[in-house]
């Protein structure tokens, strides 16, 4: 646009100066050029849309228009899968390379329709809806790359989900014709229905060299542990039927069998169980009076009574999943969706995603031989555990079974975890449903360790300008025997700390750190100067703590190194009238926070506070110049799930948590602000992590009738 306007303004200015006889010539030339320009412009705009509309038209974008490839009869056939293949022998890890994101790159071959020499396709169905969904999902994901040279994993577009629809030999030849096949290295095939009559192999029969197989229905003899991936047999029914999660509670039946193709021997045994236990068992079968087709798929019968499938699965606590001709059963997916605990009886079956999923938490696996004992075995499972398993089963379905996308992504993630094991997902990430995730703890300091006394602790004194008080605090603390170092955080940028000679003489190293900004968060910075695990955060006006009290606090911290161990305790309460949290500093029987004006804690929490504090809490604290201690209490309680420890009796602290001026009105606004903090933090954390307890720690002989001089900590609680 811009260009043509420019041309328009310049053009007429030039033309009048020219001689008339040339004018026509130039006008003609100009018109031609202009026309050419327009034509080019049109060509630029139009062809694209013409092309894309052509692509969008039915004939260009149909699977039937994928290029046809003829397989010569003599085309090479890959070798049968090598059972000894493992990631370190059959997988080219160099293709994956070092990757800062620790993510493998997956390439999908463009769709081709393979036919043999006479033009018969290699597959009776061609691309199936499920495989198409799977490939779409992968190409939408972070794993995908369209650059074949950067790919680590290759996925053929040839659909081998169902072996029944394949011509084995030709499919194998088609695979070998893929441009990057290279003995199947780093190729991944998805198959759900392996084998065929009469003996039903448990892995895809298509010869595939070294290709990885994501298969449904592996047996322990065909599954190459750590190489193949066992996947579920997808049940298309789940896309059709919407089964909302059922709330925990009693269910009508105890055991339900809904499979139609159960071997006669098993049906006899199930019927015997039914005779013994009556109504608790429901034994369903095909409906004989219904014609074949969709109707029969969605109905089950028992003695003429018709039940809706899969809805009926929700009525039972346990649902039987027996092997048929194949080990993998689509029923498993239906059962999980219904939140019914699967009772899996398929000897040697490798359960789907068993490499990462802990099936013991969602299912009961019983050897086929023990079918007659099924009832007794299931009855012995505690009721609460059954409910837990039902929830877990449903969650497994949602996360790993519900769609081809879920199945595909899980498979790739498993392979990804093998290639970058140091960045692999943890057991908890795979197996703990999200409900548990936010309520459970994830502290890297989970080991019950009582650290040695000798390294002592580092006292971090936050100060602004109360030098006199600061010096008193320093003198007091320096009497504590386990003090290792004093660190003064000088938060006043306008004033320099006093000269070295003016500071009180102490036996331990004393360091002053000047900060760039007057922020409360500075007190929780993980200074390199802090070399001990234990940190004593202390305000510059806490002069009332005795050295016995401080030493005792340190001893208690050693027994609770993952908690805040502090002196003044506070409480949060739910205000029913206002419908929100309230801060309480009165004399209460309970404690849920300790003030960090005087508290011991692990240096790790400094690191967490500075770098891992969720949301904008840190900024909020610095902006309000308040609540850094509440934030710390939230942080620690959230990651450990534990309450803080208040030590020693209550003392009258010199208004430890308010600013310089005393006064009732100020006190009240202070309380309101603190309450606000609690509400704000609870909303950022998404939960209320603080835990309320009714105890505090005292020395064993506190207030005992015992000679004072024999007590380790005699000077406790005195003012």
């Amino acid at each position: 646009m811009c260009a043509s306007v420019k041309y328009g303004s310049r053009g007429p200015a030039l033309i009048p100066r020219m001689k008339t006889k040339h004018r026509i010539y130039y006008i003609t030339l100009f018109s031609v050029v202009l026309l050419g320009l327009i034509a080019t412009g049109m060509f630029q705009f139009w062809p694209h849309s013409i092309e894309s509309s052509a692509e969008w038209s039915l004939d260009r974008r149909s699977v039937h228009d994928a290029p046809l490839v003829r397989i010569p009869m003599s085309s090479p056939i890959p070798e049968r899968g090598d059972l000894s293949c493992r990631m370190h022998t059959c997988f080219d890890v160099y293709r994956c390379g070092y990757n800062p994101k620790n993510k493998i790159k997956v390439y999908i071959y463009p769709l081709q329709r393979f036919v043999d020499e006479v033009g018969v396709p290699i597959s009776s169905t061609g691309l199936s809806r499920e495989y198409n969904d799977l490939l779409s999902a992968i190409s939408d994901s972070d794993f995908y790359t369209d650059d074949v040279t950067r790919a680590c994993l290759f996925i053929p577009s040839t659909d081998v989900l169902n072996q029944n629809s394949l011509r084995i030999r030709e499919t194998a030849q088609a695979l070998a014709m893929l441009p990057r096949w290279d003995k199947g290295m780093n190729h991944l095939l998805f198959n759900m229905l392996p084998g065929g009559p009469p003996d039903y192999n448990t892995a895809l029969d298509v010869p595939r060299d070294r290709a990885l197989l994501a298969g449904g229905g592996f047996s322990t003899w065909t599954y190459r542990q750590g190489y193949d991936v066992s996947i579920p047999v997808y049940s298309p029914l789940s896309a059709e039927v919407d089964l909302p999660e059922r709330q925990p509670g009693p269910r009508r039946y105890f055991i339900l069998s809904s499979q139609t193709a159960i071997h006669r021997e098993y049906r006899v045994e199930l019927e015997r169980l039914k005779e013994e236990n009556g109504e608790a068992l429901l034994l369903l079968d095909k409906c004989s009076n219904l014609s074949q087709g969709l109707a029969s798929v969605r109905k089950r019968c028992y003695k003429g009574q018709v039940y809706d499938y899969p809805q009926i699965l929700q009525e039972s606590s346990f649902c039987v999943v027996l092997r048929g001709a194949r080990l993998g059963q689509a029923t498993l997916s239906d059962v999980l969706q219904a939140g019914c605990v699967p009772v899996i009886m398929a000897d040697s079956y490798i359960l789907p995603f068993s490499e990462v999923l802990d099936w013991k938490r969602a299912s009961v696996v019983i050897p086929e031989e023990k079918l007659p004992e099924m009832y007794t075995i299931l009855k012995s499972i505690p009721h609460r555990q059954v409910e837990e398993m039902q929830r877990q089963a449903r969650w497994f379905w949602e996360a790993y079974f519900s769609s081809m996308k879920a199945i595909g992504m899980t498979t790739l993630q498993i392979i990804n975890d093998r290639i970058y094991p140091y960045a692999a997902r943890t057991y908890e990430e795979w197996n703990n449903p999200s409900v548990v995730k936010w309520s459970s703890v994830n502290s890297p300091l989970f080991l019950p360790l009582i650290p040695p006394r000798s390294p002592g602790f580092t006292a971090v004194v936050l100060t602004y300008d109360r030098i006199e008080s600061l010096f008193r605090v320093i003198t007091e603390i320096s009497k504590v025997s386990s003090l290792a170092k004093l660190l003064v955080v000088w938060n006043n940028q306008n004033k320099s700390p006093p000269e070295e000679s003016l500071w009180p003489k102490v036996t331990v190293p004393l360091k002053v750190v000047r900060t760039k900004e007057n922020k409360l968060s500075n007190r929780f910075f993980p200074f390199d100067e802090i070399e001990t695990e234990a940190v004593l955060a202390i305000d510059d006006d806490i002069i009332m703590l005795t050295s016995d009290e401080l030493q005792f606090g340190y001893e208690v911290w050693r027994e609770f190194p993952d908690r805040l161990v502090g002196y003044p305790g506070r409480l949060h309460l739910w205000d029913h009238e206002m419908g929100k949290w309230k801060y309480e500093s009165e004399w209460t029987n309970e404690v849920s926070m300790v003030l960090t004006g005087a508290a011991f804690y692990h240096k790790y929490f400094n690191y967490l506070y500075t770098y891992k504090m969720p949301g904008d809490i840190k900024n909020w604290v610095d902006a309000h110049m308040n609540c850094e201690d509440i934030a710390m209490n939230f942080l620690v309680a959230n990651i450990t799930g534990k309450a803080p420890i208040k030590v020693t009796p209550r003392k009258k602290f010199k208004c430890p948590e308010c600013t310089a001026i005393d006064g009732l009105s100020l006190d009240q606004t202070h309380m309101v602000e603190r309450s606000e903090c609690i509400n704000k933090f609870a909303s950022v954390f998404g939960t209320m992590p603080l835990k309320v307890v009714e105890h505090r720690a005292d020395p064993v002989l506190y207030k005992d009738d015992f000679p004072e001089k024999l007590k380790s900590f005699p000077n406790i609680g005195s003012l």
Partner: protein, 741 residues
Amino acid sequence: MQARKKYVLLGLCMCCWLLLYYWGGLQERLLGLITHKRGEVARPWPSWLDRDLLPGYADQAELQNDGGSGDSPRQRRQSWAGIYKDSRCRMDTCFDFARCQGQSGFRVYIYPPEKGERVSESYHKILTSVVESRYYTSDPREACLFVLGIDTLDRDQLSTQFVPNVDERIRGYPLWNDGRNHVIFNLYSGTWPNYTEDLGFNVGQAILAKASLNTEHFRPGFDISIPLFSKEHPQKGGERGWLVRNTVPPRRKYLLMFKGKRYLTGIGSDTRNALHHIHNGKDIVSLTTCRHGKDWEKHKDTRCDHDNQEYERFDYQELLHNSTFCLVPRGRRLGSFRFLESLQAACIPVLLSNGWELPFSDVIQWNQAVIEGDERLLLQVPSTVRAVGIDRVLALRQRTQMLWEAYFSSVDKIVLTTLEIIKDRVYSHISRNKFMWNALPGGLLVLPEYSTHLAHYPFYYLNLGISPGQEFTAVIHATSPLVSQSQPIMKLLQVVSKSKYCSQIIILWNSEKPPPHRSKWPPMPVPLIITDGRRKVSIQTSSRFLPHAAIETEAVLSLDEDTVLLTSEIDFAFHVWRSFPERIVGYPPRSHFWDPVKKAWGYTSKWTNEYSIVLTGAAFYHRYYHHLFSHYLPSSLRVLVDRTSNCEDILMNFLVSSVTNLPPIKVAQRKQYKEMPTLQGTKTAPWVNPEHFTQRQECVSTFASWFGYMPLVHSQFRLDPVLFKDHVSVLRKRYKDLERV
């Protein structure tokens, strides 16, 4: 002039044309961006227009019918047993489950040693562990599992400990049965130069518990990979992990270290030969020496002299203590001693041993404790370990310690873990899940017979995000006959039943006299159950910790019949217990100490500044400890307790502390929890007897020797109510009664 203008004009036109061309091109790109969401450009896998017309991969009826019902299951099982043998063994086909279904359950039999049989030190330890385990039986008829008496640990033919003719000998055993239900322990297989997995005899259908197992030969779900351990590895107890503190940042002096042999030729030399490449002399220390074997100088290359010199400069132990990560490359075999060494040293192992089936890989989630490297990618190791964040280093390091202490620190633990894994397979529906195996305190302390439900154990509340129940069961141990209504037990019953958290009271009647009739007991607001614990021969003190089925709550309040407590003391202790459900929480503190003169552990009931025992005469704990006490501890200890009618409370403290590694918790001020004995009493309380006290001293020593270490830990604090003895109105205090004690 004319021509110039002409050219200017033409040039201008050309410019415009080009501009328009590029602008058009830009348009095209913009168009691409707009349509990006439809995946036109970024996604070559198209959205087929006829997507909805695509056929399903299988007909639903086909999925449900699944090609019919298959062969007869009975026939299939029979034919399997014939096909899947030897190298394709699985529990289903090579293990006789019927042997384990008997009354006695899971029992392990050891072949008696033959005359003149030489057994190596390590194998002797393994056998001792089995014999001392609760699964041992001397009767082969009730055995489910068999362990050979022949030492099979070292199958290197060049080794001095190699036992010849194993094949012939085991074939002679009437119980051998082609190895079915046998477990064979092995640490070294194969020999120079290839170090194959061959044991030199046919293991048949026996389960291999073998070190350095290769994934290719490993029969999944059947064999068990065990760690390589030295002959100095302790029988019991074992050293704790070396991690005592968690400094932040967690980096140690060195980032990564290796010190070991470099193989110039032969198997494993590829990796060992390359290790020196990552050595930088600063934070990565990778030292190799050629000086090993007899004829090293023959193969020596140009690096050798320099390397050997550098090698001497660093001390292995010093590196182990001061390195964040430790390289654990394969040697000739896949496993090496340094694996356990670095695990114990909390030096995070970086494995370079392709194809090694990690120890107990069935149950342990190794990726939470080690960095699994790839021999092919040695040069990536430095950048990989540098990228590990602070939190992960801390977590990995703690997990090394957890695994070391739970499964590896002694031969006992290694052997027991092996047996428990097999047992879990045999009784798969009463087995531990992966969570139990990988969370504290480890799988060996979780007895699935008790429950398979996580919430039934005292250890997992935090992980599950739940709290223990709101009620407790009081268990009163009664030994003296009921003669008067003013007896202490009557008072105690009143006090306990008044607690609003008490859901039931159980009286364990352990007196010579039969328990009095129900009507003799006072009416109670809670159910009262009287269990007759009398035995014909003698009173069994340990029966107070039997896992009585009647106990329905998680919390147990254990009381002696003459305990004196207030209701509010009980309530407060219960509150504290709910915060520490894995510990013993109670009133009477005691302490242990090391007596340097006698060189033995001592026991004291004096008031001191610290305590390590809380007597179970007035204490809360989780009911699971009843189960552990009765089933985990060896019967020898329980017999000792029964014989002396003493020490059961100390033993319980040993047990709980060995599980938690933490001290018990003393609550509030009360220490004296019994009334002083009155002279009129027909029978004096046993604890005033001086002999009673000596017995307790001995108990502490005996228990410590069974555990292999002293599990008790001292604590210096007690927990009081928040306002305890504070200068504030009594009306504000919830537990005001406690101050009157």
